[in-house]
């Protein structure tokens, strides 16, 4: 407690600024307080060491004219850290906005980077192709069967049966046609939305779809025309 009270005197003594009447008071305290006297020795040694620290030389000859020129406003603004940060930020934002645009132009690249796994989409497309081929085959079979049945009825000259068969076939083909068209439209829509960005396979699938549509229309036409 007493040491802390005498701290100002202690420091003043250390730096050689102590008054004569205070000096005796401090000396008396140092004689009885071991801690303080040790502290004084350590501080003295440190101050001595500090005095010995060598000076650093700066040989450059400064002139106020040059300093003022260096200090000009536009120079400090243009070459400041803030300006550099601003430039870097602008460049970053520009790149981040331009890159997706660039990728959008190359849709293939975009889908490869961010979309589905391309091999997966190809597999699904192949499945779709098989499905479409199945539909086409079914259609052809249906027309063949109906043709054969009609020919049989014509050979038997069973007009009544012919008429009945003709009516049912008409209804049935209408129904089938509608349903097929709905299915195909659904498929087409699915392909258009899902596999928009994958490339060659889409063209193949679309061609297949078109051929299916055309054949089914022709098939219907043959039924109507033939009889």
């Amino acid at each position: 407690m007493k040491c802390e009270q005498l701290r100002e005197l202690f420091i003043a003594d250390l730096c050689g600024e102590i008054q004569e009447e205070d000096a005796s008071r401090l000396r008396a305290h140092l004689a009885e307080c071991e801690e303080c006297s040790r502290e004084q020795k350590e501080f003295r040694a440190m101050l001595g060491l500090m005095k010995q620290l060598p000076q650093r030389q700066w040989d450059e000859k400064l002139r106020i004219r040059d300093l003022l020129r260096r200090d000009q406003r536009w120079r400090t603004v243009v070459f400041s850290k803030a300006a550099l940060w601003f430039l870097a930020l602008t460049a970053f934002i520009t790149v981040m906005t331009m890159l997706p645009l660039h990728w959008e132009v190359n849709a293939q690249q975009f889908s490869v980077r961010w979309g589905k796994n391309p091999s997966d989409t190809m597999d699904e497309l192949r499945k779709l192709q098989v499905q479409l081929a199945g539909i086409e085959k079914q259609n052809q079979q249906f027309y063949q069967i109906s043709d054969v049945r009609m020919k049989q009825l014509v050979e038997q000259k069973n007009i009544e049966q012919q008429q009945k068969y003709w009516e049912t076939m008409k209804m049935f083909t209408n129904y089938l046609q509608l349903q097929r068209q709905a299915d195909l439209q659904k498929l087409q829509h699915e392909i258009a939305t899902t596999y928009d960005r994958t490339g060659n396979e889409v063209e193949k699938t679309n061609a297949l779809l078109e051929s299916v549509l055309r054949t089914s229309a022709e098939g219907d036409a043959t039924i109507y025309d033939g009889h």
Binding site: E8, E42, P54, R56, E60, I64, D71
Partner: protein, 204 residues
Amino acid sequence: MSYTLDMKPVAEPYVRRLSDEELIDSVLEGNVRDFDVLIERWQQPLYNFVYRFMSSEEESRDVCQDAFVSAYKNLAKFKRQSKFSSWLFKIAINRSNTLLRKRKRWRMFFDPMSEHAQYTDSVAGEANVEMSAEREQIYSRMRRAIAQLPPEQKTVLLLKEYEGMKFHEISEMLECPLSTVKSRMYYALDGLRKALKLVEVKNR
């Protein structure tokens, strides 16, 4: 830096014999080049002081140049109550404090570990070192210990020990009471002692 031939030598010999106050009057009358004599006179002491404060060569040079420029610009506002040198040092101290604050903020944000890394680099102690090398090691230890003190304590310590200012001068310059200056001095020495002991322990 290169000079062209049309620039005359800085100042004639009699100008160098003038005191700071007379030189300031001369500058204010329009002899701009007489400020170069002031710079020449105070460049080295100021640089030494700021280098001990900042412990970075480049930054302390910047601070010195800024201090001279700002002193030149505000020369008319300089009241003759204190010495020119203490006014100049005050400008430099303010400038270095802002720079240190910036540096600290930068470190906290980008490099939080560097604060701890700063004091741990001990020089590899060989068995039979030469005297000069050992001295060099002690000096660098001392410099690092001074560098890690808080700025206000460091200011008082450096002004007192290297510029030989009296306590009441320092308290006027920093605009704080005498007892605060003395206690800062005490805490500076205390911190210095602790830092040096820490390094010694680590070296063993």
